[in-house]
């Protein structure tokens, strides 16, 4: 595996281009700022919004997977829980006030559940760790599915609407897209700061050598708990945004067969070797899903097989492969 460089390159001499232009975020933000104006794609606002939501999800998940080295299969559940939390808060608590509070609730509840799992697995490793995260997802799935007074069971939550916010009409897909874009920009900046921070480097140290880290004063269990808390917050946030995108919440979001999705999307682009890997991977993952599912009923077959092949061939993802060249 290659060296995990910080997201912003610090070169000793003055770069020829202004530093801003060398920052991948500049280009990513620019492209997605202009997304609705794109000739063909621009019409698919829902797809664009979903991409932004998943960027938040996978970038933060990568703190757990790529930085801390924790292959958690529980994060799909935190996303799902965020969806439900947002929907429920909207429907039962804050009907009139719009959606900032439900979205915040989604994030907080996501962090809460992640904190619980993070606490449980804080010192566990290997097979045992992986199995516990899968089981945790299963429990949450069953609770959401069965507790149908609250969660609506199989039919899910309905009646969630986007109202107006700051005087803007959020039912307009384009306006909602830009709302999510703003959230994405803020989240993306925060997540990158965390990744480049002392804390982020501590995570990497613990991943690379947990024993030595302990001998240098790192309480490894505490760090694992904290990274779960943080990534769970953003997973819940993403789920909450998704709730308002689709104006619904379904237990299928928590289906454990989907718990691999976020892992694949994060790995695919090269999350284990680059901070920006998840962005690349998410684009590939979501768009290929959209494309394949639209022309073949049995797209799941192709989907499953292609990821098997890709993951086996490129375990470090697309960016990992490019870096080796």
């Amino acid at each position: 595996m290659t060296d995990k460089r910080p997201a912003t390159d610090k070169t000793e001499r003055k770069p020829p281009l202004p530093k801003r232009l060398k920052d991948p975020y500049f280009w990513i933000f620019l492209i997605f700022l202009l997304y609705p104006t794109f000739p063909y794609f621009g019409r698919f606002m829902s797809l664009g919004t979903e991409l932004l939501i998943w960027f938040i999800f996978t970038l933060s998940f990568n703190l757990c997977l790529g930085y801390a080295g924790l292959p958690s299969f529980g994060h799909g559940a935190f996303y799902g829980v965020g969806t439900y939390a947002a929907g429920l808060v909207f429907l039962h608590v804050f009907q009139e006030s719009g959606f900032l509070i439900p979205i915040a609730s989604g994030a907080v509840i996501g962090a809460l559940f992640a904190g619980v799992l993070g606490f449980i697995i804080r010192n566990k490793k290997g097979i045992y760790f992986a199995m516990l995260t899968v089981v945790f997802t299963q429990v949450l799935y069953f609770i959401c599915w069965r507790w149908d007074d609250v969660t609506g069971g199989e039919s899910g939550l309905k009646g969630i609407v986007r109202t107006s916010f700051l005087g803007l009409d959020m039912t307009d897909p384009v306006i909602f897209y830009y709302f999510v874009f703003v959230v994405f920009v803020l989240a993306a900046i925060v997540i990158r700061r965390v990744a480049d921070s002392s804390f982020g480097m501590s995570l990497q140290a613990i991943k690379q050598n947990p024993i030595r880290s302990q001998y240098l004063g790192y309480n490894t269990g505490l760090y694992r708990f904290l990274v779960y808390l943080i990534s769970g917050f953003f997973a819940g946030l993403s789920g909450a945004l998704y709730c308002f995108l689709t104006q619904s919440a379904f237990a299928s979001v928590l289906d454990w067969t989907k718990s691999g999705d976020v892992v694949i999307a994060t790995l695919l682009g090269g999350g284990t070797v680059s901070f920006y890997g998840p962005i690349v991977g998410t684009i590939i993952f979501i768009i290929s899903q959209e494309v394949i599912s639209s022309f073949w009923e049995h797209w799941m077959l192709l989907y499953g097989l292609s990821f098997v092949v890709i993951i086996l061939a490129f375990p470090t993802g697309l960016l990992g492969m490019l870096k080796k060249k």
Binding site: R193, V194, D196, S197, M201, N209, Y215, Y218
Partner: protein
Amino acid sequence: MPLFSIQNLTKRFGSFVAVNNVDLEIPETGILSIIGPNGAGKTTLFNLLTGFFLPDAGRVIFKGQDITGQPPYEIIKHGISRSFQITSLFQEMTVLDNVRIGIQSHLGDKFKLFLNFQENRRVKQEALNILDRVKLVDNRMSLVTAISHGDRKILDLALALTTDPSVLLLDEPMSGLSIQERGKITRLICDDFAKNMKLIIVEHDMDVVFSISDEILVLNQGRVLVRGAPAEISRNQAVQEAYLGGEKCLAEIK
């Protein structure tokens, strides 16, 4: 008051007793070397003293305080640090970053979510100071995987220094090194470490052991065989017997 007071310390792995009811007091001054044939329990003893293993019986008292069972990240707060027999480094980082990981912990920056690691000047300066001390500054931007084995051993020592210890446990600092590299580390130990910290060294290189130690402890099969000044140890019959069939004959040196 002795620095370490080890009482009835026992560690078992299944039916194998690695450390067998060891009673030991280690004074505050003087370089103590621990020698013994392979499997004598030397590294296990270090692991017990530094909280990596939980003993099956017994206690470890450090400066009057019971530290038995405390995990490594608590132990180092008492000023105890250790190096590793097989170098234990952060494989995907540069030499400088390795040391920075240690320093940022010591300076209390490791939790900070928004403090940029690369831009932290205080940590960087302290790290450079340590690298300067061990004479590894030139290699600081190299990846750990790209430097020589000798430099990796030195980096391992440097990491142990980042916690600013008062007691340093060195686990086979000479293993796998050339004569020249051994000299470099011996000088580090004598000119720097010994003057600033209490040293407890596990080592197989008898030349080094006998030339720098104030006191030698001989372990065999998990027990203390004998203990004393280098001159006494080299004459000791039991020690020679323990070493037959593996190590250098002690009569040959000093």
